[in-house]
């Protein structure tokens, strides 16, 4: 299955490409008064209003700044999602199109199901689903649904 790789706070991460609607350069973020800092703001994505989460802050790390390199992953919403690969990674996203702002994007690679390894206990994180070792790279495979629904259980938004 194909995964799109990206960096957040110097960590290499990946999401299945089937969950992605489009990856865009960050344009104008319209800030939302009263929203938590973890939300960069709203963007006008061809007539749709998309909420963008600062992935760095969501992980409790450094803020992802808008640069030439930084990108916004716009994820499909549940009703646009059709493919499921059996890993449970992309069975559910969010009822809305949500964007993740990341530091920079890398290439797209194929990862077989048997390459996926459980997250080691010492780095367990609600957003992490699997880890993968590809050559020298250590890749964390995310659970998009968890990040895209930030306020579901966690108190990041309070």
């Amino acid at each position: 299955m194909l995964y799109s790789l990206f960096h957040v706070d110097k960590t290499l991460m990946a999401v299945p490409i089937t969950t992605i609607l489009e990856i865009v350069r960050p344009s104008m973020f319209y800030s939302i008064s009263g929203s938590p800092e973890v939300i960069d703001g709203l963007i006008n994505f061809r007539g749709k209003v998309v909420t963008v989460i600062n992935t760095g802050l969501a992980f409790g790390g450094n803020k992802v700044e808008t640069t030439e390199e930084s990108r916004v992953y716009i994820f499909k919403k549940n009703s646009e999602l059709k493919v499921a690969d059996g890993t449970g990674l992309d069975s559910e996203l969010s009822p809305d199109n949500i964007g993740l702002h990341v530091d920079n994007i890398e290439n797209v690679i194929n990862i077989e199901i048997d390459e996926l390894q459980a997250v080691p206990a010492n780095m367990a994180h609600p957003f992490y689903k699997f880890v993968v070792r590809k050559g020298d790279d250590f890749i964390i495979i995310l659970r998009p649904a968890e990040i895209l629904n930030l306020n579901k259980d966690r108190d990041l938004l309070s």
Partner: protein, 892 residues
């Protein structure tokens, strides 16, 4: 199509919707138990039961009643929910569905098994009471409904009648007809012919499509609406982009077409509300028989158009309210007659367009809401504390009925009494972006008003800038825009931590964006002038400070993503014509967030200020003053409300008798008084050719105050300082038009000028200990003056600005006050109500109450005495006031 038919068809459609709700709810329940889901299920089943009971679909009613009972027990905590119950619930839901779809609506359906399943499921996991008790609780219902169920099954009836139809006229043989009528219906009084007709119609409607309309999927209409919305936004963008272009004929004509398109698409969804209204005629007619009361329904404004989806959502809440009116609101004929009312109760149902919104009013002239009962119930359920209950106003208490689980009906009937209605009504209206208002007068009736947007799709909005951001505010929530110029700041004041503004006598809270969002960086930058918007949600009003107003635009509101749904002060977001994204503010959300209940603010304002502060505040309330001069320097003022007439007089007209000056005005000789004789003023200019005479409204004070010039009338807030000039006749000094101005106390002046008629009466209270007075008046000026009178003769005076406040003071220390002197016309609680409340309280009933008003007609006098006042005096006559007061204290 006759009304019955339409109602029935509507109901079937509605039932289908409720069944979908039910199924969804059950699916949610399967995943995770929550009381919200139970509530949702309960409402769905309740609606189904109510409707089917109404149409005598006995089997469905029976099953849904049982189902509802079980859900209710879960909701109340009498029954512990167990996941094992869910399959039975699903089975019940399926059974209801089957019955709904069957030709005879389940009347020939066998529901014994499913009922037994439901019962056993609920019994196995019950926690309170023995199984036998539980069965007893549920069984009578079942037995009763089975009795009713002995009707001829509808299917049979259906066939029978189709066969009978050709020989309709010939079934005059009484036994057959009677028999049939008996079997047709127990509750309803339809004649056989009506039933035959309606059944025939039903079968016709089922088979024949209508010619003039086609059915369109709602999804398709929604999509059309959405696309049109986007096109409108696109058009706005294009118009902006090419605003400077010379040749834009094609663009303009397309822009027009798009406007037309938008109108038409909006119309496809608009329907007159009449269709929904008509069904209430029948509902009221039938309910009035069922509850054995005489009720008539008056419907107005049926042609008012609303978005189809809004009308659909309104059907439920309106039905609830109409039922409530019939069941609780309207009294029985006997009771109405004994209360001196028309034996027939009336319910008014009216829709109208108002300020770009549609308002729907349901009003009855019944008993009104029993606020004491509501409070009691709310106390029992732990919704409020006893402290809260004691300080609640009637309206606040009445509003409690919108809380889930609160019903004042003692008995649970199939009509109402389970407390489902009102919370659903409120949440439905709010979900539609509307608001609602409740008014109730004990013994006179209740009135509920919905304020609704006409459409949910495209909203005309005002775009404003606050700090770095732009916001859109739908016009339907905007009342007015107010510009505060430098110098107007006086109208803004701080009370506790609230900034408030006095807008035409109303106290409205003013908010900054930072107070709403809690984000100080988002505040307006301010400047030497500020603008604020007055927003409203229902009757709640508040101001929001903005930096600038940009323009008006038609916007499509996109719902907030779920991730942001904690930010309830936003209604959503929108893409503006210049492709910027702006947040759309929700007045409803803000007002709920800030719990901006004006009453709360008012009581805060009243309770947390010491009396001294209050007095000061009160004197700062706006007053109308007449400003005049007696000489070149001193500026004087008196309350305009006490001025009777101003006349310009030539010096020659003065008659001098001894060393007093008189003038003949009308048919009276009026004594002129020169204020320099009473105050330390410069002498009146002797060289002037003419002057002005001010006559007052004060009783028997037939003197004219001489003024050298009349400046103007002044409407402003007063800040009164203690007079530096000695002399009783000065109330205080203030600065008007940059000049020190003396405010005169005309009553004291009258006393000084003619002591013989205004002599202070000996106050006998001095010798006793009875000297504690409570003075109640909403007009600050009079309140202040009254205090002064009473204190001048030795009373100790406590002030209250309305009946409610007075009552609170009285209840706090019932034995403190010897006498209450009260105005009649006051906001919040008037004098009549105050007296009524006092006379029914055993602690307060002995305290005499004297009415004090500006009316002198005998009619008012009688009315006051009838209402329970012990005495009556005219405000502008100090002597009679003191007399009236003294009488009661001496009599004691």
């Amino acid at each position: 199509m006759n009304i019955e038919d339409e109602v029935f068809k509507n109901f079937l459609a509605e039932m289908a919707e409720r069944l979908i709700d039910l199924e969804q709810g059950l699916q949610d329940l399967e995943k995770e138990f929550s009381i919200d889901v139970i509530n949702k299920l309960f409402r769905a089943v309740h609606t189904i039961k109510g409707g089917c009971g109404f149409f005598s679909l006995t089997k469905i009613t029976e099953l849904s009643h049982l189902f509802e009972d079980i859900l209710m027990k879960i909701r109340e905590g009498d029954l512990v929910f167990d996941v094992k119950m869910v399959p039975t619930f699903f089975a019940a839901c399926d059974a209801l569905k089957d019955m709904h779809e069957s030709d005879d609506y389940g009347n020939s359906y066998d529901i014994k098994e499913i009922c037994a399943d439901l019962l056993s499921g609920s019994l196995s996991s019950q926690t309170f009471g023995s199984p036998e008790q539980q069965i007893k609780k549920i069984l009578p219902v079942e037995i009763e409904s089975q009795d009713k169920g002995s009707n001829l099954p509808k299917a049979e009836l259906h066939n029978a009648q189709i066969n009978l139809m050709p020989v309709d006229k010939s079934i005059e043989s009484e036994p057959v007809k009677k028999d049939l009528e008996k079997s047709v219906s127990v509750d309803n009084d339809f004649t056989l012919e009506e039933v035959i007709k309606s059944i025939q119609k039903n079968s016709l409607d089922k088979n024949q499509p209508q010619n003039e309309t086609i059915r369109v999927k709602v999804d398709l209409l929604n999509r059309l609406m959405e696309l049109t919305g986007e096109i409108v936004v696109g058009r706005n963008q294009l118009l902006r982009q090419f605003a400077d272009s010379d040749n834009k004929i094609a663009l303009s004509s397309m822009a027009h077409l798009i406007s037309d398109l938008q109108q038409v698409v909006l119309q496809t969804r608009m329907q007159p509300i009449g269709g929904t209204f008509t069904k209430f005629n029948r509902i009221v007619r039938d309910l009035s028989k069922q509850v054995n009361k005489q009720i008539k329904l008056v419907v107005k404004g049926e042609e008012t158009e609303l978005d189809r989806s809004i009308i659909e959502s309104l059907s439920d809440p309106l039905t609830h309210l109409i039922r409530n009116c019939c069941d609780h609101g309207i009294e029985s004929s006997q009771l109405r007659i004994s209360n001196g009312k028309d034996p027939t109760g009336t319910i008014w149902l009216e829709a109208k367009n108002e300020r770009g919104q549609v308002s729907i009013t349901i009003e009855d002239n019944g008993a009104g809401i029993d606020t004491e009962k509501v409070k009691l119930k709310a106390l029992k359920t732990g919704l409020i504390t006893s402290v809260q209950a004691a300080s609640m106003s009637d309206i606040e208490a009445a509003n409690l009925i919108f809380n889930p689980g609160l019903s004042t009906s003692d008995a649970i009937t199939s009509l109402s009494g389970r407390g489902v209605g009102m919370d659903v009504v409120k949440s439905t209206v709010e979900k539609l972006g509307g608001a609602l208002d409740l008014e109730t007068k004990s013994g006179l009736g209740a009135k509920i008003t919905f304020y609704l947007p006409t459409t949910l799709a495209i909203m005309s909005s005002l775009i404003v800038r606050i700090g770095d951001n732009r916001f859109a505010i739908p016009h339907s929530e905007l009342r007015e825009v107010i510009l505060i110029r430098p110098g107007d700041e006086l109208q803004i004041e701080k009370i506790m931590d609230h900034t408030v503004y006095r807008l035409r006598g109303n106290l409205i809270p003013i908010l900054k964006m930072s107070e709403i969002t809690g984000d100080p960086s988002q505040d307006s930058i301010g400047g030497d002038h500020s603008v604020f918007l007055v927003l409203h949600s229902g009757t709640n009003q508040f101001g929001l400070i903005v930096d600038s107003i940009e323009h008006t635009e038609e916007i499509v509101i996109k719902p907030l993503p779920r991730i942001l749904n904690k930010l309830t002060y936003y209604a959503g977001s929108s893409i503006l014509g210049d492709s910027d994204v702006a947040m759309v503010l929700s007045a409803n959300g803000i007002s709920q967030n800030q719990s901006l209940h004006l009453q709360e603010l008012d009581s805060l304002f009243l309770n947390n200020k010491s009396f001294e502060d209050m007095q000061l505040m009160d004197m700062q309330e706006k007053q109308d003053l007449l400003v005049f001069r007696c000489g070149p320097d001193e500026q004087l003022a008196i309350p305009l409300s006490l001025v009777f007439k101003i006349e310009r007089i030539d010096v020659d007209q003065i008659d001098k008798i001894a060393n007093k000056h008189f003038i003949n005005l009308g048919d009276k000789n009026i004594l002129l008084i020169y204020l320099d004789q009473y105050l330390d003023l410069k002498p009146f200019p002797s060289d002037s050719k003419y002057f002005f005479v001010i006559t007052t409204k004060i009783d028997r004070f037939e003197v004219g105050i001489v003024a050298s010039s009349i400046e103007e009338s002044f409407h402003a807030r007063l800040v009164l300082d203690t007079p530096p000039i000695s002399g009783k006749i000065i109330l205080g000094i203030t600065k008007l038009y940059d000049r020190i101005t003396l405010i005169l106390d005309l009553f004291s002046l009258a006393e000084q000028v003619s002591p013989e008629s205004f002599k202070a009466i000996d106050f006998s209270g001095k010798s006793t200990n009875k000297n504690q007075l409570l003075v109640v008046d909403d007009t600050p000026f009079f309140r202040h003056l009254e205090k002064k009178y009473f204190e001048s003769v030795g009373f100790k005076v406590t002030l209250a600005s309305n009946g409610r406040e007075a009552l609170e003071l009285l209840l706090e220390k019932p034995s403190k006050y010897d006498l209450v002197v009260s105005d009649i016309v006051m906001p919040i609680m008037d004098g009549y109500e105050l007296v009524k409340n006092m006379k029914i309280n055993s602690l307060l009933m002995k305290i005499p109450v004297v009415a004090l008003t500006s009316f002198s007609e005998a009619e008012h006098h009688e009315k006051a005495l009838a209402a329970g006042f012990d005495g009556y005096a005219i405000k502008t006559n100090k002597e009679t006031i003191l007399k009236a007061v003294n009488r009661f204290l001496i009599e004691e």
